[in-house]
Subunit: 196 residues, 2 copies
């Protein structure tokens, strides 16, 4: 990795951090330049447009999310355990850092703004939903979960849980957010398990 790639990566890391706080749309070339202590033009040369920068940020966050949440879940035993690991990782990763929340805020910022960023977000979300559904499917095949529930419905429900968590946690700073979310998760699990 030559010098250019190194600083490029450092810039992206900083950009992810800022986008986590101010939102992907709130991430501006100027603020990013001063945060990285570079000139605007020097920074801009790495990404040839702001859109490319935003896409790079999204890609980095996605990678982080897969590493920290999806992969650990997939290496856990199928069924209940896998779902629990997924949930737990998702919860802690997003509480501590930026990866999880970033997609949530980006989704609402771009939901009515056509373009490459929006398209990427839509793809990412479908990928995530499919991963969630697959986690359910594999468990249902073993008989651990009810088979009269659409896996996509599980994905939808779990996603809703996390969204509610983010809102309570980030906007309201509600200390009870995690407790509430955990409780809701337990009820969801209870309604899915065949061994009730």
């Amino acid at each position: 990795m030559s010098k250019g790639d190194a600083t490029r990566q450092a810039v992206i890391d900083q950009a992810v951090e800022i986008a986590g706080r101010l939102g992907v749309a709130g991430l501006t070339i100027g603020t990013l330049a001063s945060a990285t202590e570079m000139s605007k033009s020097g920074l801009y040369a790495h990404f040839r447009s702001k859109e490319a920068l935003q896409l790079a940020v999204l890609a980095s966050a996605r990678e982080h999310f897969v590493d920290q949440v999806i992969r650990p879940a997939l290496s856990a035993p199928r069924g209940e355990q896998r779902v629990r690991v997924l949930f737990e990782r998702w919860l802690t990763t997003s509480s501590s850092g930026a990866a999880g929340c970033l997609f949530v805020s980006a989704a609402t910022e771009f939901d009515d703004q056509p373009g490459a960023v929006r398209d990427q977000l839509v793809r990412d979300h479908w990928d995530l939903a499919e991963s969630l559904a697959q986690v359910y499917r594999s468990g249902a095949k073993d008989g651990a979960f009810r088979d009269d529930l659409a896996p996509e419905q599980f994905a939808h429900d779990l996603h809703g849980l996390m969204l509610a968590h983010f809102h309570a946690y980030r906007l309201l700073r509600d200390p009870a957010a995690e407790t509430r979310t955990r409780y809701a998760f337990e009820r969801l699990m209870q309604s899915l398990l065949t061994t009730a």
Copy 2:
């Protein structure tokens, strides 16, 4: 109502519409001026700062939401019916217009940006949560709902349902969004009712 108040209201209506599309932060004086076919300064005179404009937009949206969702629910019979009216109204109001989504997008845009707007959003959310909890409480007192569930948990869960709906509906344009949300709602209701 003199002329000034009339145009001020018209401006706010337009602002709500724009904020529903571009987000509260995306609402800019310039775009609002050209949308209302007024000069920036002429428009700006009504609100003495951008923050005041944003607060006015929020107030208008809140009023609309209370009229279209909360009040109809409160005039329905307590218990299951009231919850159903609330849910139904919430769903249709936000699908058609701007009121519902506006708070969702505003919440994520300002969740890390201190200021009067954020404070107002937090207040609004607590008010909403309290209203939802109260709807549950009144039903539980009649014995329609389980009494071993915290009303605040119900508020949290229902809110999560709506958030998931907005994401699926606005970002993904998922035609199945409403079906999924309705299904999730039915399962929520089933788990609450004592007459199961």
